[in-house]
């Protein structure tokens, strides 16, 4: 999975801090794109593409939390890491509860470097999942969702628009398992639950 090119974003309104992060991550061999505000970031980035973003919670203009809300609303596969100050910890915790990947309290550079690889791995995993998902036909995606919900073939055949026979649902199901590298319904269900941001 390492071969998937991955974009790393930094969003911070403090110029020195932003520059320091760029240098830090560059020194760790990571390519980084930096933005001075949440608005600039949302304008420039394709939220449908996988990647990893380091967001400062407290910023002038759009706060880090507001940017995250936008990403979440757009079902973005971007992995979000927050940088928080001492007093913002409850906010950061709430953000993680709502689906942000992690947070690091300033000024803890060591912890940032510790937690970043996991986030990057997650971003790669999401990119991979997205690619697999893209291989499915629209019909198969529909079937896959219904399978993930635990619907039997007969019911799926009935729910599809336009409806089809249970046998073709069975064919779809086999294709889905093969393409998504899943063994059974349970695995597919877990896979879909792990990637709620799939379009």
């Amino acid at each position: 999975m390492k071969d998937i090119p991955l974009t790393l974003y930094v969003v911070d309104d403090d110029e020195a801090l932003r520059r320091s992060l760029l240098l830090l991550l560059f020194s760790q061999g990571l390519a980084v794109q930096a933005f001075e505000s949440g608005e600039a970031f949302l304008d420039a980035v394709d939220m449908r593409q996988p990647g990893c973003v380091i967001l400062d919670l407290r910023m002038g203009g759009m706060s880090g939390l507001a940017v995250f809300e936008r990403l979440r609303a757009a079902h973005s596969p971007l992995v979000t890491m927050f940088l928080s100050g001492h007093g913002d910890i409850p906010t950061a915790l709430e953000a993680v509860r709502q689906g942000a990947w992690d947070w690091v309290e300033k000024p803890d550079t060591g912890r940032l470097l510790d937690r970043l690889p996991a986030a990057i791995d997650e971003a790669r995993a999401r990119a991979h999942a997205l690619r697999l998902w893209a291989e499915l036909t629209p019909r198969e995606r529909e079937v896959a969702r219904l399978v993930g919900l635990g619907q039997p073939n007969k019911e799926i055949a009935r729910l599809l628009v336009p409806p089809c026979g249970p046998r073709s649902v069975e064919t779809h199901r086999a294709n889905i398992f093969s393409k998504l590298q899943c063994a059974n319904d349970n695995e597919l269900g877990r896979w879909l639950a792990a990637h709620p941001w799939l379009g």
Binding site: G85, K106, D108, G110
Partner: protein, 712 residues
């Protein structure tokens, strides 16, 4: 295609021709009618005249017949020499003549010699005269009855001669002649108005009502006739008979009566006359009777008819013209009316449009408009004003001051401003007016008043525009309020909050420092010295940034003493308590203030000292957050060193093991606390030359106190 004017021209000609034809026809009709009447009259006159003439002839007709049978007459013819007989016959004739009224009676023998005559004893006695060349003699000698009109050879008097042969035994012995004078007849004719003419078989007039026409011929007399007349000496020695001075015009067409009437144009006694003439032949006498009547009446009738017809046609034309004029005028009037209606309609539409435009404008206005007459009666309001005051237009129109929307608290002011406005003394830049909306809320308005002048330039009242400035006023009030709150929150910004801000601000350069440092280590390991140098520079820079922040905090906590002022301690405490009142109320905690040392004054920074109090009270509130309805005591006591201020709560108190650390930096019992608040408070108190202590009350709860030196 002929033009309209050409058509009209032709029509005029036609109408004129028609009118003329009608006039001519009526003239002709009247003429014919009159002519018919005249002709009828003429016929009757002719008949009457003929009858009279015949009567006259017949009256004496028998005379010669009877006389011829008298024995003496026959005897005398047989014995012409018998004088006695002759005398007897003469007497007999004279007697007969006198009895019958004939002009003369005489007896002629076969040779034409007169044997006896009624006028034997007169100078013009016929006796002895010869009449053998007279036609009546010739006729009678041959056995025929002779009738002849002519001049008497002896007397020169004209008369009608009737001759009868005297027969004896089949032989004609002689002729008895009676002469009848037609003079009385002619005299009677002359008295009549219409000329009557009698002419003989030669066409020669021998009896006429007009003397000038006598012995004139109706046509030139032929030579034979002339000779015959001369031979018979019918009219004496007269040998020439000029043609009558008549212009004859033959008339036809009086169809009902086949009468050959003619029209004569002639001159009678110098007067030109047009006469209608009717010839009646009298064959037994060989004469022709011509009766005439004056055409004047016909002409007059015709003229009258013409005049009447002309008048009638003129009247008709006038009527038609009048009717046409009337029609034209009617059409014009109708056209004018339609035009007027169209213009009125157009004008109405314009007005409606203008009105709709004005209405839309008025309705769209957010500014309230109100017009008043000079007495202050409301004569107009627009929807915006109605919306502003909550009253409908019906409720406002016609109202006099006080208006229903006047604010009850401002009645006097409103009345004064209204009077001013009505006297034209309204403030040119408008005045502010508070009004009461119908639903009870207040509206602040700005009122601008201008004179209302109508199209004639007459001053009709006042027009006011009313602008709702409530929102603006509220915004201003809010801003003022916000400013006050900001001020208050600046003071309220507890030392804790300040410390939190400080921590965040410090975190930025610290994080950057840390990042640069880690990066520097990695870069050093990678041997990229250039980037390493840059990173190290950044580290230096971020360190300075951090120290700047710290300096700012220190400056805040330790202001220059020069800025200190003398403060009443009570004032500082009361103000701090006031600042916290809302929060205390929210938490249900009562603040008991006990200021025992009135008038104590200290020298210091009001804001910082308030911050110390606010921080201590905040801490006390925190300590009591699970004990509602508790009390916080705020007490001042005069002490030896100055004044001591206590803030005591009813919380759990401070555990004895923490007593020593309570003022240490970064010591906190709260999860989100920074542990700087009390430390900073102590720093502030000490900066003011005081000191701070803490103790636990016997009855529970902690009591923080600080002592400040007083100034006289």
């Amino acid at each position: 295609m002929p033009s309209l004017s050409t058509l009209r021209h032709w029509r005029r000609i036609l109408v004129a021709a028609g009118a003329l034809a009608v006039i001519a026809a009526s003239g002709g009709w009247a003429e014919r009618h009159e002519m018919q009447t005249k002709t009828e009259g003429l016929r009757q006159a002719a008949a009457a005249h003929a009858l009279g003439l015949r009567g006259l002839v017949e009256k004496h007709d028998y005379l010669p017949h009877a006389a011829a049978r008298h024995p003496d007459v026959r005897d005398l013819l047989r014995a012409p020499r018998d004088a006695a007989l002759q005398a007897r016959v003469n007497d007999y004739f004279t007697d007969l003549q006198a009895t019958t009224g004939a002009a003369a009676l005489f007896l002629v023998d076969r040779a034409g010699l007169t044997l006896a005559a009624s006028n034997w004893n007169t100078p013009f006695s016929f006796v002895g005269q010869s009449y053998r060349q007279r036609p009546y003699f010739e006729d009678a000698v041959q056995g025929r009855r002779g009738i002849f009109y002519g001049l008497g050879l002896t007397t020169g008097q004209s008369g009608l001669f009737i001759a009868e042969p005297v027969r004896a035994d089949g032989a004609i012995l002689g002729v008895v002649v009676v002469k009848i004078s037609l003079e009385p007849l002619q005299a009677a004719w002359m008295r009549g108005a219409d000329p009557v003419v009698l002419r003989d078989s030669h066409g020669i007039v021998f009896l006429s009502a007009v003397p000038d026409w006598l012995f004139h011929a109706i046509r030139p007399v032929s030579a034979a006739d002339l000779r015959w007349v001369a031979d018979h000496r019918q009219y004496g020695n007269r040998a020439r008979f000029p043609v009558l001075p008549w212009a004859v015009e033959t008339r036809a067409g009086t169809s009902a009566l086949v009468l050959h009437t003619t029209v004569l144009h002639t001159t009678v006694q110098g007067h030109r006359m047009d006469l209608l003439a009717l010839d009646t032949p009298l064959p037994e006498l060989g004469w022709t009777l011509t009766v005439t009547t004056d055409m004047k009446e016909v002409v007059q009738a015709r003229q009258l008819a013409l005049i009447l017809a002309t008048l009638a046609v003129a009247l008709l034309l006038l009527g038609v013209q009048y009717w046409r004029l009337r029609e034209k005028r009617f059409v014009e009037q109708r056209t004018a009316r339609i035009e007027l209606e169209r213009r009125v309609e157009e004008r109405t539409r314009d007005l409606e449009e203008a009105h709709a435009f004005r209405k839309a404008m008025e309705d769209s206005l957010l500014v309230g408009m109100r017009a008043r007459d000079p007495e202050g009666r409301i004569i107009y309001v627009n929807p915006a004003l109605c919306a502003m005051v909550g009253y409908s237009a019906d409720e406002l129109l016609g109202r006099l001051p006080p208006y229903p929307y006047w604010h009850p608290d401002d009645l006097e002011k409103q009345a004064r401003e209204s009077d001013d406005a009505l006297r034209g003394r309204a403030a040119p830049h408008g005045f502010e007016s508070r009004i009461r909306h119908k639903d009870g809320h207040d509206v602040i308005t700005m009122v601008y008043t201008a004179p209302l002048v109508d199209a004639q330039g007459v001053h009709r009242g006042w027009m006011s525009s009313v602008v709702d400035i409530t929102a603006q006023k509220q915004a201003e009030a809010r801003q003022r309020d916000q400013e006050v709150r900001l001020q208050r929150s600046a003071r309220l910004a507890s030392v804790g909050e300040m410390a939190s801000t400080l921590a965040h601000e410090l975190n930025q350069p610290l994080m950057a420092l840390s990042n640069f440092a880690v990066a520097a280590r990695a870069l050093a390991a990678q041997g990229s010295s250039e980037m390493l140098a840059g990173a190290l520079d950044d580290i230096v820079e971020q360190s300075r940034r951090a120290s700047e922040i710290v300096k700012r905090v220190r400056a805040f906590i330790n202001p220059q003493r020069a800025q200190y002022e003398v403060l009443a301690v009570d004032g500082v405490i009361t103000h701090a308590a006031t600042l916290l009142t809302p929060e205390l109320r929210r938490d249900g905690i009562a603040l008991r203030v006990d200021l025992t040392d009135d008038g104590a004054r200290v020298r210091g920074d009001r804001v910082l000292l308030e911050q110390v109090l606010v921080n201590l009270i905040h801490n006390a509130m925190h300590a009591m957050h699970d004990r509602p309805r508790g009390h916080i005591d705020l007490v001042t006591r005069k002490v030896e060193q100055g004044v001591r201020i206590f803030v005591a709560d009813e919380g759990p108190g401070i555990p004895p093991e923490q007593m020593d650390q309570i003022f240490a930096p970064f010591f906190t019992t709260r999860p989100d606390g920074l542990g700087l608040g009390l430390n900073i408070c102590r720093t502030i108190v000490e900066a003011h030359g005081g000191f701070m202590t803490v103790e636990n009350h016997a009855g529970g709860g902690a009591a923080f106190s600080f002592t400040l030196p007083t100034v006289p």
